[in-house]
């Protein structure tokens, strides 16, 4: 190994500064590994636990609370269990593609983390085309899903795969179009550049910059849920119709790959929307200490993303699933045209107010607060109504 590296250095493979470039390459590799192992995997695991707890609360159950404090280590236990399970490849399946598919899905799940803007300095690679990269690599998922669906040699899986393909391809269009208003306003595709275009205060977020971006943010969130196969768009794995869709025949760690990618994608969705519309890691400049600032920014970013993740759990626990024709109708007849209007509207808006309209920001923020207040009032109303202490069985 050492001789190989020395030979490579000697041959000039690392440019003019061999040791520095080599170190840089190794650092990037190790950092990718660390980010993946230390953030992505545990995050996907912990989200399963959070989801089960949130779900249980909404359904007036308890949820997993045995392993560790409040059941926090449940995800580890589940992970160990699922890895120990037998990895079954059905006899009639196409073994090569069947085994390859989870890797593709994992690849699509891993790649976006390279441009994840955790804070002003905590980013692996601030790519010049960051947001484009993010949407492009997440599109790889669908190839894996289709491959899994076909290779399982199960008709239900095939239907799940085909549904997934139709769904993801369709919803990529409104999702992509909803990114453009922000790109129009900032003139950059870089994640950090977009975040720097916004302020820390809500009225400076692109979410409230103008009515078009507000609509675009909502469309992007819904389309992302559809791309990530989340309820109400979880048709590819609809339990009640297709059993588990493309993942029916998978077991053990291969199945874990699929579910991990699904839950990890929640974070990626949240990160995209936080970056584009919610001001990313922006935090008021309270200290000159760079480390402290970065920690505060990391916390800000995570809180925003986790709120969006929580929102998707809430949606999943509340809403039923739509039908495939309704899904397509929603995309092609509503989301796509509205996205186009958003794009043109934002272009006009930018032409009129090149530096943005702060008054609009305040108005829209106030409106959003009012909407939120009404919503919370409804929630509290129903919570009050369902408060009850009726235990009829004397043994309980």
């Amino acid at each position: 190994m050492q001789t190989l590296i020395q030979n490579l250095i000697a041959s000039g493979a690392f440019g003019k500064n061999p040791p520095r470039d080599l170190v840089a390459a190794i650092v990037v590799f190790v950092m990718s590994l660390v980010v993946f192992l230390a953030i992505a995997l545990p995050f996907a695991g912990i989200v399963t636990w959070v989801e089960r707890r949130v779900w249980a609360r909404i359904q007036s159950r308890v949820g997993p609370n045995r392993v560790g404090p409040q059941g926090f280590l449940q995800w580890l236990a589940d992970g160990v269990k699922i890895v120990c399970k037998e990895d079954i490849v059905p006899d009639e399946a196409d073994a090569r593609l069947f085994k390859l598919a989870p890797f593709l899905v994992m690849l699509a799940f891993t790649l976006p983390w390279a441009v994840m803007p955790f804070s002003s300095s905590l980013i692996l690679a601030d790519l010049n085309v960051g947001i484009l990269y993010m949407t492009a690599v997440t599109a790889l998922t669908v190839v894996g899903v289709l491959m899994a669906g076909w290779a399982s040699n199960n008709k239900w899986s095939l239907i799940g795969g085909v549904r997934s393909a139709a769904q993801i391809v369709s919803y990529e269009i409104p999702a992509g179009l909803s990114i453009f208003p922000v790109v129009l306003m900032t003139g950059t595709l870089s994640m950090q550049g977009i975040i720097r275009g916004q302020g820390w205060a809500p009225q400076h977020w692109f979410l409230f910059a103008n009515p078009f971006t507000f609509v675009a943010a909502n469309i992007l969130y819904m389309s992302s849920l559809a791309e990530a196969n989340r309820t109400p768009f979880d048709l590819p794995e609809a339990e009640s119709e297709l059993v588990a869709g493309f993942a029916t025949e998978y077991s053990g760690w291969r199945y874990a790959c699929f579910s991990m990618a699904e839950w990890g994608n929640l974070f990626i969705i949240g990160a995209i929307i936080t970056t584009l519309f919610l001001g990313g890691w922006q935090f008021p400049h309270v200290t000159n200490n760079v480390v402290a600032m970065n920690v505060l920014e990391l916390i800000t970013f995570s809180v925003k993303v986790l709120f969006l993740v929580f929102l998707s759990m809430w949606i999943r626990a509340t809403l039923p699933r739509v039908r495939i024709d309704q899904l397509m109708t929603a995309c092609w007849k509503y989301f796509v045209p509205i996205s186009f209007v958003n794009m043109i509207g934002t272009a006009v808006w930018v032409a009129i107010w090149p530096d943005g309209n702060v008054a609009m920001g305040y108005i829209m923020f106030a409106g959003a607060i009012a909407l939120g207040a009404i919503f919370i009032q409804r929630v509290i109303y129903y919570l009050r109504r369902s408060q009850m202490e009726v235990y009829l069985n004397p043994t309980i």
Binding site: G12, E92, L127, L132, A139, L146, N153, L158, G176, L189
Partner: protein
């Protein structure tokens, strides 16, 4: 040196996958092999510091066209069985055509005076591409858009006709 290694690896990936597309008897394998070919091209674009084009290639070809191709293949009769295969037809004429094409291309390659570009520093290309589209090349760009629009309207007309039937 490293760049060369990477280039040849990517080229091998692209050509190998393309060969698999052509020679695989299983139509589904052919389709999935396209993924390798397209990804290889993405890698070559990145190697050429064409970041924007690489991403668009990934987004459009892998995320869009490849998936559409797979989708179309999945609608083929008998696809629910994994042992699907397609016959080779017209081997003789194909060899003749391919041979002629190969000769022409080889001739062109030999005759061309290749010149090596000077070393360049990678720089963002997005702005340049955008300016080119809406500056020097605005006419071809708009014409291409018009063609696409016509194709879209045509597709809608055809499909609505089908539905009415």
């Amino acid at each position: 040196m490293l760049a060369q290694v990477i280039f040849y690896a990517l080229a091998a990936l692209t050509v190998g996958s393309a060969a698999l597309v052509a020679f695989s008897r299983n139509i589904v394998y052919s389709t999935f092999a396209l993924l390798g070919a397209l990804m290889g091209v993405v890698g070559i674009y990145i190697l050429l510091a064409a970041d924007f084009v690489a991403m668009v290639q990934l987004l459009v070809y892998v995320g869009g066209i490849l998936v559409l191709t797979i989708f179309a293949v999945m609608l083929t009769a008998g696809i629910a069985d994994v042992k699907v295969s397609n016959r080779t037809v017209g081997t003789g004429p194909a060899i003749v055509v391919a041979g002629v094409a190969a000769i022409v291309m080889l001739y062109a390659v030999m005759r061309t005076q290749w010149h090596q570009a000077a070393a360049f520093t990678p720089a963002p290309t997005t702005y340049a591409i955008g300016n080119a589209f809406l500056g020097d090349y605005v006419l071809p760009f708009e014409v291409a858009s018009l063609v696409l629009l016509a194709a879209l309207i045509g597709a809608i007309v055809i499909s609505s006709h089908e539905v009415r039937e």
